[in-house]
């Protein structure tokens, strides 16, 4: 029972954090870059393990953030210098980094405490067994505290710099003309994507984190009237996906993260269908 609550709490924080950075990825039309970073951070995590020879959370965050930013920077440079299309250059960089990560995991399998299956699919069901001892007390799963920290950091940054993120997402040319450094806010967002995906890695794995980055935020894009409401709607869809997905996983006795991913997709499809149905009922007035 306690384990269920920890799993749900962890999954909720993962889903909501992902959906919030996802909102800005969708609005900046950079969902593929989010996909890319969530995969290439694996290389950062493995390198951090190998270099520090420990499971230090700080080292993991630093490694993943560096590799995440390098992914964003390198794919942009490939596009500009190599005359390759944006999506092609992103595809090249992250698959390359992810492949290197996988090789390192298999090469140093004995040394690195990472399981390949877990990297790809995540296993949130095991999260409650990996707990943190603080002051002699067991204060709960490590995965929960890690994602809670990232969640609070994301919320603080978004609230503080809400208007900057809005301006840059709406029209980057306008932002530059007002003297706002689009580059700075871009790489700050990429840092947040890196941190969020690393913190979500244990729970949902590299592939399903993409679902949580993109799907709830896309559903919210269809409904929202303001940036604030888009963030809230995305968070609600994320939370619904977690609750229904968890129930589904229990019923089917299947992977929790995959069930959450499936449910978020189903919710998106239902939303699209309802919107289409409404459109048909109320004819669009032509000016």
């Amino acid at each position: 029972m306690i384990a269920d609550i920890w799993i749900l709490a962890t999954a909720s924080l993962v889903a909501i954090s992902c959906s919030m950075v996802g909102v800005f990825l969708i609005l900046r039309r950079m969902s593929l870059l989010g996909d890319a970073i969530s995969h290439s951070v694996l290389l950062g995590i493995v390198l951090a393990y190998l270099i520090t020879d420990s499971r230090s959370i700080i080292a993991m965050f630093i490694g993943a953030t560096i590799i995440g930013l390098v992914t964003a920077w390198l794919s942009n440079s490939l596009h500009k210098l190599g005359k390759l299309q944006t999506d092609a250059s992103i595809g090249i960089v992250f698959t390359w980094f992810f492949a290197m990560g996988v090789i390192l995991v298999t090469l140093y399998a004995g040394k690195v405490d990472i399981d390949q299956e877990c990297v790809l699919y995540g296993e949130i069901a095991f999260a409650p067994f990996d707990t943190i001892i603080f002051g002699g007390n067991d204060i709960g799963p490590r995965a929960f505290w890690v994602i809670l920290g990232v969640f609070l950091l994301n919320i603080t940054i978004f609230i503080l710099a809400f208007n900057r993120f809005k301006l840059v997402a709406f029209n980057s040319g306008m932002a530059i003309s007002l003297g706002v450094s689009v580059t700075f806010w871009h790489y700050l967002l990429m840092t947040m994507v890196s941190l969020t995906t690393v913190a979500s890695f244990d729970a949902v794995g590299a592939i399903l984190v993409v679902a949580l980055l993109i799907i709830p935020a896309s559903t919210a894009y269809l409904l929202a009237k303001s940036l604030k409401s888009m963030l809230i709607i995305a968070a609600i869809y994320a939370e619904l996906s977690v609750l229904i997905g968890y129930a589904l996983a229990v019923v089917l006795d299947s992977n929790i993260a995959a069930s959450i991913g499936v449910v978020s997709g189903v919710l998106l499809m239902i939303t699209v269908a309802v919107l289409q149905w409404q459109k048909k009922r109320t004819p669009v007035s032509v000016f």
């Binding site: 710099a161 900057r164 709406f170 029209n171 040319g173 530059i176 007002l178 303001s226």
Partner: protein, 259 residues
Amino acid sequence: MKNSPLVVKHINMRYQHNPVLTDVSFSIPEAKTIAIVGPNGSGKSTLLKGIMGLEPLMSGAAVFFGDSLDKKRLAVAYVPQREESDWDFPINVMDVVLMGRHGQLKFWQRPTSTDKKIAEQALEQVSMLNFKARQINELSGGQQQRVFLARALAQQASLYLMDEPFAGVDVTTEKAIINLFAELKAKNKTIVCVHHDLNTVGEYFDWVILINARLIAVGSAEEVLTVENLNKTYGGRLSLLNDLTERLYRTNLDKVHDE
């Protein structure tokens, strides 16, 4: 021109190794409407973006009121092309116009009631105040353009750089923009527009800059809009040009008669 709002010095620009603009230099007078005119692909928009630092310059510089752009940011308002924006973005009209105030605000500050008043005034100036709570995806093309203009007005700049403000707008909006130009000029503000419609250049603008990969001519509209210059700019591939030159000739005749 000592007090010129904008001096462009030997600007060269490239797009992926191909030269787009070569050695463009000019300076513009204050309190005038100025059109940048040229055929499609002549580098008009690119020039404006280069001047605003949105695209890199290979060489050359743009000087604003005798200073670099960084020192005069807020005195220069830029109106991007309407098509370059996502009009499904979840935002209402007022919030877009308030973005004109963001340059004055630190990143953690929210717009004050003064900022909101300035934004409402700007909307009033383009007759869009009634639409302030409207979602931007519910606006017509002309209304979208007026929202962008209000956004620039809210910045309270002295120089306005606009990328094709007349493209695809309705008659009401066209009139609103013309009235706005007159108001701004009366307040000693300068307006530079990328413009594609040769038929209206002489009517709407005091000054003209003719561009086709390089500077063809710059000066007052009467001086610059000659058959020779237009042929040089459009390379004679314009049947429209013949109509236009005839019309120019006629309007000049009318002017002579009027005088």
